[in-house]
């Protein structure tokens, strides 16, 4: 029942916001997301205490063997935590803006949370797919209604592109589902047992179908062409949802579905996929260095980071998966913070052009410190949360393939180049025409940034409790792969 609550609570509040259009949309949305966070923490505690995690099952389409089943274990616990943790921050970033009391905007964000939670919680493959696709609707409307220049064409491309990708997933899922014995079942664990028995060439094809779907979602080179435009044109909160949480559906799908289902497929295609991921790391970083628009720069940095996660996951090692899970959490925190900082600057200067900035530190000391901390987390400096994940990921890629590991490691240098350049050009130096008399942070903005910075450092200093939390689940998964 508690699983049902954390799944549907945001949707219920979101629906109320959409239908009743109350005046205090911001307060309702913020309180609801905090209640959701508390409830999720309680659920995760229960799950950690229970031996095999929590499971909830109800028949859904009984005659087809499709059930409405949810679970929490070590693997998805961290993603549920991420989703519940970030949404209050994302809602809080709207404070005092024109979107704060826009009930439609807030309602869509909460509806999005349910879709994301559903994808992470689902224990039934079709339920996963259902939420995986349903999540496109709220985010599409968020981006398309509130987006910037040329939004119609860009968000439409995003929608069609990602939906097109998930259709491959649907084909693959239906195929495996039809192989399951008896009157078929789409329970994920049943699918594991069925899929590993399939012959190699079929597993190879299925791996491709699944990988393309997830690669478009993440995105992985060369399926990334929708991403920079969409991230740039979408309103900041939608971008945060997209990069902070939604892209993790792709990496989660790799861990949850692809690894355990197609071990033989990975033998055939795994290297290709890893190479594509590593190309994405370098490609994203190099392009990020040249960006003039700060939001676009972050979009490419996100593209580079997710490439490393995917490469780590495909190494199929304990470190790789653990690192990827940890990095999903850290990346979510860092990227939401960074996008928020760009939004703060844009609100005051009406611009995102890096070249036009400079000298903001003279006016806002706190903003600079927060920016530096979040960036260092993103660059993966030791003692920040990014370091733990990135270290584990790089180690796994190294163990998997020395050369790829070396190439992937360049990301640390390139990441430092574009991130530090961004800080330097915006925060330091002489102030420009538009950054002159930059207004200091409001308390609402501080309330978002300071906790995020605390999480960055906290995650870097004391990662063990999260790693311990995920280890049994990941261990079980890895032993399944052997």
């Amino acid at each position: 029942m508690s699983l049902l609550f954390i799944l549907f609570f945001p949707l219920v509040i979101g629906a109320i916001l959409l239908v009743a259009k109350p005046k205090q949309a911001f307060a309702i949305s913020l309180i609801a997301s905090i209640i959701e966070l508390v409830a999720t923490v309680l659920v995760l505690q229960d799950a950690a205490a229970a031996e095999n995690g929590l499971v909830f099952t109800k028949p859904w389409i009984e005659e087809a063997g499709i059930s409405f089943s949810l679970w929490v274990d070590g693997v998805n616990g961290i993603l549920i935590a991420l989703c519940a943790l970030m949404v209050p921050f994302i809602v809080a970033t709207t404070a005092n803006s024109d979107k704060a009391n826009n009930s439609q905007y807030q309602g869509l964000m909460l509806a999005m949370q349910t879709a994301l939670m559903g994808a992470f919680l689902a224990k039934d493959a079709f339920l996963f797919y259902f939420f995986f696709e349903a999540s496109l609707l709220p985010i599409y409307f968020l981006a398309a209604i509130y987006g910037g220049e040329n939004k119609n064409a860009i968000t439409f491309k995003f929608f069609v592109y990602t939906l097109f990708g998930s259709l491959f997933l649907l084909i693959g899922l239906i195929y495996v589902y039809l192989v399951t014995p008896g009157s078929h079942s789409s329970d994920i664990e049943t699918l594991y047992q069925t899929a590993i028995m399939l012959p190699e060439h079929i597993q190879g094809n299925l791996f491709l179908a699944f990988f393309i779907a997830f690669a478009i979602k993440m995105p992985i080179f060369p399926f990334h062409t929708w991403q920079p435009d969409t991230y740039t044109v979408a309103p900041t909160q939608a971008t945060m949802l997209l990069s902070g949480i939604m892209l993790k559906m792709g990496t989660y799908g790799l861990i949850r579905l692809v690894l355990p289902m197609f071990p033989l497929g990975i033998i055939t295609w795994g290297n290709t996929a890893t190479i594509l991921s590593v190309i994405g790391i370098i490609y994203g970083s190099v392009i990020a260095i040249q960006q003039k628009d700060a939001k676009r720069l972050l979009a490419y940095s996100s593209f580079a980071h997710v490439g490393l996660m995917s490469a780590g996951i495909l190494s199929q090692s304990l470190e790789g998966i653990q690192g990827a899970l940890y990095q999903m959490l850290s990346h979510g925190i860092n990227i939401v913070g960074l996008f928020f900082i760009i939004e703060i600057i844009e609100r005051r200067t009406k611009s995102r052009e890096i070249a036009q900035m400079g000298g903001i530190t003279q006016y806002s000391y706190v903003l600079t410190v927060a920016f530096v901390i979040l960036s260092l987390g993103s660059v993966a400096l030791p003692l920040t949360n990014g370091f733990i994940g990135e270290f584990l990921l790089l180690k796994s890629v190294f163990d998997h393939d020395m050369i790829l590991g070396i190439v992937a490691s360049i990301t640390i240098i390139l990441g430092a180049v574009y991130t530090l350049r961004l800080i330097q050009k915006t925060m330091f130096g002489n102030f420009s025409r538009i950054t002159k008399d930059f207004e200091d942070l409001s308390s609402a903005e501080k309330w978002v940034l300071i906790p995020l910075c605390a999480l960055v450092i906290g995650g870097g200093v004391y990662p063990t409790w999260i790693l311990n939390l995920t280890e049994p689940g990941v261990q079980a998964l890895v032993s399944l792969l052997k």
Binding site: A64, F126, F131, A144, F156, L163, L170, L178
Partner: protein
């Protein structure tokens, strides 16, 4: 079975009621008639019986199809609002009566057990449709559509009749059950070759009616020219009834002859998918887009009969129901918007006349968008499960490539359905609040809610089918 007698009587009494009652009353009475006939249809549930000298068989499948047809007719009647408001439609009772008669024809087509009943049913349905298509007497397009539909329709009837004759010549029987026994008990080599031609001609005749490519050329013009309310009728009832008849034949008596028809149907289904979806992309008019979308949906349905093993009826029924619910809503909103825009813009049925609908008519915009999402097969709507069941069902019968093509084509579909959503929500335009009659509103929301409920909990009806 009593339903068809009742409906015929209701149709006749409707003609007389027109002398005394105004349009609104007749509309309500017709709705009542349809509810009664649905109840009568349900009363045959689980009684597999033969009627009228063994020419008419009620099975649970045929009852389900008849219910979908009557439900569609119910909504079409509920959405009819213009009759009797201008001098052209001064006799609304006749239109309602003709609709009831054509529903009788449709029901005959889904429950025939005799070839002549199939033919008679098809004719009752079609002749009524020719009249209704041309009912906008002073509109040149409507007249053109009626003539076109009539010519193509009679041509089709000819083909079908020719096919029936040849099959009769080979088997010496019109009874489905007799034909079935003869076909299964005789070796294919010893059958006359004109039997095979007959079977193919019957199938082609029905494919004309479901507007499968390459027999689809009449569809866009007829759909566009006919008054929108009858386009709604055509795209739901005629399609469902003809497909049900086709399904009844190929899953039943022609099953043993699958070598003849399976390959043509296999390619026709793929061709229909491609033609329907690709052509829909280029349409500027919502009505024409919906016409091509109905062609593409025929393609999805044909997937279910494109192999030796036939799909389970439940996925076909589910698909028909979800398609019907979404299509009536799309046409209903089109009726309102084009009526509002007809005095303001040159082409009231284009996407451009939907621009900015959401601003002052959020309810209509939401209903329209949900119906588009359902037709596109996006989760949370019935259309998703409709497609899902069809695809998994077809996949399980080892038809791999057409399903992959169908999935790719449904990605193409998203493009043109989303044109509607984009126009409604994202484009700027000035549409004032459109007055919606109460009955119209209730019907609109019933269909929309139905689409969502079936999208969230498909078992609700899937377990019945």
């Amino acid at each position: 079975m009593t339903a068809i007698i009742a409906l015929s009587l209701f149709g006749i009494s409707n003609l007389f009621l027109g002398f005394w009652f105004p349009r609104k009353t007749i509309q309500l009475i017709t709705l009542l008639f349809l509810v009664v006939s649905m109840a009568l249809t349900v009363s045959d549930w689980n009684h597999e019986l033969l009627w009228f000298g063994n020419m008419f068989r009620t099975t649970n499948t045929s009852i389900n199809f008849s219910l979908i047809i009557q439900l569609a007719a119910f909504f079409v009647v509920a959405f009819s609002k213009a009759f009797g408001q201008d001098d052209e439609h001064t006799h609304p009772a006749e239109y309602y009566a003709i609709m009831l008669f054509s529903v009788v024809g449709a029901i005959l087509m889904v429950s025939f057990d005799h070839m002549i009943v199939l033919f008679v049913g098809l004719e009752i349905l079609s002749v009524a449709m020719y009249v209704l298509t041309g009912s906008d007497k002073r509109n040149l397009r409507s007249n053109e559509a009626a003539i076109k539909y009539f010519l193509m329709g009679s041509f089709t009837t000819g083909i079908l009749l020719f096919g029936i004759t040849l099959v009769y010549g080979a088997t010496r029987s019109f009874y489905i059950s007799n034909i079935g026994t003869i076909l299964t008990s005789t070796a294919p080599e010893s059958m006359p070759s004109f039997l095979f031609i007959g079977v193919l001609l019957i199938i082609v005749g029905l494919l004309f009616k479901v507007s499968a490519a390459p027999f689809h050329f009449w569809t866009p013009d007829v759909y566009e020219g006919a008054p929108t309310i009858f386009t709604m009728f055509m795209s739901t009832i005629v399609k469902t009834a003809s497909f049900a008849a086709l399904f009844h034949l190929v899953s039943g008596i022609f099953g043993s002859l699958y070598t003849i028809w399976v390959l043509p149907v296999y390619f026709i289904s793929m061709l229909t998918l491609v033609v329907g979806n690709i052509s829909a992309v280029y349409q500027q008019s919502v009505k024409r887009m919906l016409a091509f979308s109905s062609i593409s949906h025929a393609g999805y349905l044909l997937l279910t009969v494109s192999s030796k093993q036939i799909s389970t009826t439940s996925s076909i029924l589910y698909y028909s129901l979800s398609y019907t619910l979404a299509t009536v809503v799309a046409f209903a909103v089109l009726i309102l918007v084009s009526e509002y825009q007809s005095a303001r813009v040159e082409k009231p049925e284009n996407f451009s006349s939907f621009e900015g609908l959401a601003k002052n008519n959020p309810g209509l915009a939401l209903c329209f968008s949900i119906s588009m999402l359902s037709l596109a097969g996006i989760p949370l709507t019935a259309g998703f499960w409709g497609k899902f069941f069809i695809f998994s069902d077809t996949f399980s019968r080892n038809i791999i490539y057409p399903v992959i093509l169908a999935i790719l084509m449904s990605a193409v579909g998203i493009y043109y359905y989303f044109k509607g959503i984009i126009a409604v929500y994202l484009k700027a335009g000035e549409i004032e609040k459109i007055e919606v009659p109460a009955l119209f509103k209730i019907a609109l929301w019933t269909c929309t809610l139905g689409t969502i409920i079936l999208g969230i909990y498909p078992s609700l009806v899937k377990s019945v089918f």
